[in-house]
Symmetry: C2
Subunit: 418 residues, 2 copies
């Protein structure tokens, strides 16, 4: 089996602190170790120890000199919408000048513009657009990336989107986790009446879900549960059916209004409730008492020009497990730069650096049901590593907006996007 | 004379709209041209015209194929503090957790930490630290960068800082504009009494300024005019003397409290008043009626976790010329990413994209007294260009946090930082 030995790191940020059932580790401890080397065997981390302890066992290993720099687990970006066609760059200044969501839609923008655009493209075309975007995301330090469908909103176009993800899994040296988000929005052709609206929910549950499950096209189902999008009852129906079909559950919850989304996520045993900009105190208590990770997306709030952010401190202090993610998408978060999201975690969400790093590694993995073997630098875990042009972990959020990742490895294999 | 011909640009963003005395151009018009080529002769732009009009005159030119991408003027970053020693990455999470400025200083942080650090380093050491930082800034699209002293705060250490800038000017293929900011803060050894405080102002005016002027070490003098730092009267004294010594004037004004800084800047004929987070209505009216550029630094507010931002819209609508800059410094804005500042200009300051681009080019040049020949793609201007991995100008602020600059030229010479 091939062996690698990472030596001469200034800090190895293990994210392997005291275990905490189903929710990664205590967030205030990023498990920083000094003077240790990392031994990799095949696709797994074999040991993290003083180099002298590893020298004989790994005498034949390929040595990677970290040059006095920081090594972290490869970042885990647990929330992206990376399968889309055209960039929607014309909306940003409209929004800034006060043009509302409905008016942007009337001028041909908004999510329905992405739906029309995606429907017009072939699977191959979407693959060709997505692959460089995924590699660009990876170049900022991610080795695991969740990708949602959700701009198809028809049987054919949702399946097309999920098949693009399957092709990306074969093409990119990354761990890509597919999520089916057929319930991203009610498509235009189902909006003329309540009856038509129900037909769309029925299409999702009865026509689309069985194929997604049978062809194993997704690990998770997700629903945009928000007033004006999917109601609590519709969300429950879609997610109950998805769970029965063998999918894990995720939820877009309480982004703009408190709506009971976080509580529902915990009740249904979802791996994550995402956004939470307007989560209620009851929702926070539910998250703190459950196994659902609270996934926060501060870049989206920044890009939208909103002053409010999710109450991260309150959640952490209540005992909830918090993850951070990019929310990479063409409308509200067109960023590849996950470390910038960590900056926002500190400057906007008032997290400390350890909390932000844990949120972007092991807690991101927990938000994908992968915390047992991903997101930590610990014996037995997948050898997913990121090397940073930094001497100290705190430089990662500090040099805001810069790309300081200079190498990543996923399952022991170098990813050459950096 | 060497000739270059830039062809096949999707858009040439000239920033050369209708001229407006001493303040660049109308901000809402970035002068985007389609289907034109740019001819460069020596260090100047010779023509911007349809390729067929340029073919014969520039038949021998080296052709640069822009590949259907956007060309803008090289960005002009008119406010940085790039001469410093150690990065102060430990302060970000302290600040996020509510530790105040004074307590951070007590723990060895804050500006006085940078002063002690800079004083301990040689000119050569500071040069070696600064050069890669300047090239990193350039890699995001800047071809003109203002650099302030201000972490020396003694005759010897301020001169050392300015001499580092002079060495950088010789070493980097960029236009670097040196500003003397001896009045960045009252150094610790001059703080025990009002009398000592006056002695520091006297040292600046009588001991340091004459040397700075005689050795031509700075184009501008700048003062941090803010309650608790330099008063209006002290600022006036220092800037009056600086003007008499032949320096142009800049001002850190009204960052945290309205203090009359903007009004003073206009009264003294300063090229710029910078920060302006708390500028008063009177200050805005003064800026709108004067020749002083309002330089806004939204990245600083973001990094500090402040919710307020300078009232950019009010300033623009009143008729003030607004510039954007990085404020690159180790305490409050450690970013190399000028395009991210443009994103914040749109999402946080509600500027439109044309306003943000104008603010980062010709208006940045105006904030350095250079608008006559820099910051525009127009015949006779310096051939300072940036090529972007974008088909449309709006992509520059849209892909937030990404580095999309793929080439820059300063005075017709390629800068290889990108």
């Amino acid at each position: 089996m091939s062996q690698l030995l990472f030596v001469n790191a200034s800090q190895v940020v293990t994210c392997a602190g005291p275990a905490r059932a189903r929710r990664g580790i205590e967030m205030t401890d990023a498990g920083v170790r000094f003077g240790v080397a990392i031994a990799v065997e095949g696709d797994r981390i074999a040991a993290v120890a003083h180099p002298s302890e590893l020298e004989s066992t790994f005498a034949g290993a390929e040595v990677i000199d970290c040059g006095g720099r920081v090594v972290t687990p490869g970042l885990v970006d647990s929330h992206t919408h990376a399968i889309f066609g055209r960039a929607r760059y014309e909306e940003q200044e409209m929004r800034a000048s006060g043009v509302g969501y409905l008016e942007i839609a009337r001028r041909g923008g908004g999510i329905h513009a992405s739906v029309a655009d995606l429907r017009s493209r072939s699977e191959g075309e979407l693959f060709d657009l997505a692959l460089p975007r995924i590699l660009r995301l990876a170049s900022y330090g991610s080795t695991t990336i969740e990708i949602k469908s959700g701009y198809g909103l028809s049987v054919e176009d949702e399946l097309k989107s999920l098949r693009v993800i399957a092709r990306l899994q074969r093409a990119a040296p990354l761990r890509l986790v597919p999520t089916w988000l057929g319930a991203h929005e009610i498509p235009l052709e189902f909006r003329e009446s309540e009856a038509r609206r129900s037909e769309y929910v029925s299409l999702l549950v009865h026509d689309l879900l069985p194929i997604v499950a049978r062809e194993r096209l997704a690990s998770f189902a997700d629903v945009f549960c928000e007033p004006g999008v999917f109601t609590i009852d519709e969300t429950r129906a879609i997610l109950d059916a998805s769970r029965s079909a063998g999918l894990g559950l995720k939820l877009h919850a309480d982004e703009l209004e408190p709506h009971g989304g976080a509580e529902l996520a915990v009740e249904l045993g979802a791996v994550s409730a995402d956004h939470l900009g307007a989560v209620s105190r009851t929702g926070i208590v539910a998250l703190a008492g459950g196994a659902t990770v609270a996934t926060l997306l501060p870049g989206t709030m920044l890009f939208l020009g909103r002053r409010a952010q999710a109450p991260a401190r309150e959640m952490i202090e209540a005992g909830a497990a918090v993850a951070l993610a990019t929310d990479f998408n063409p409308g509200t978060s067109p960023t590849f730069n996950f470390p910038l999201i960590l900056t926002l975690g500190v400057s906007q969400l008032r997290m400390n650096v350890a909390e932000a790093i844990v949120a972007a590694t092991v807690n991101g993995a927990a938000a994908l049901g992968l915390a047992a073997g991903v997101g930590r630098i610990e014996s037995g875990c997948s050898a997913d590593l990121a090397l940073w042009d930094a001497e100290d972990i705190r430089e990662i959020p500090y040099w805001y907006g810069d790309r300081r990742c200079i190498g990543t490895w996923m399952g022991g294999r170098a990813c050459h996007a950096c």
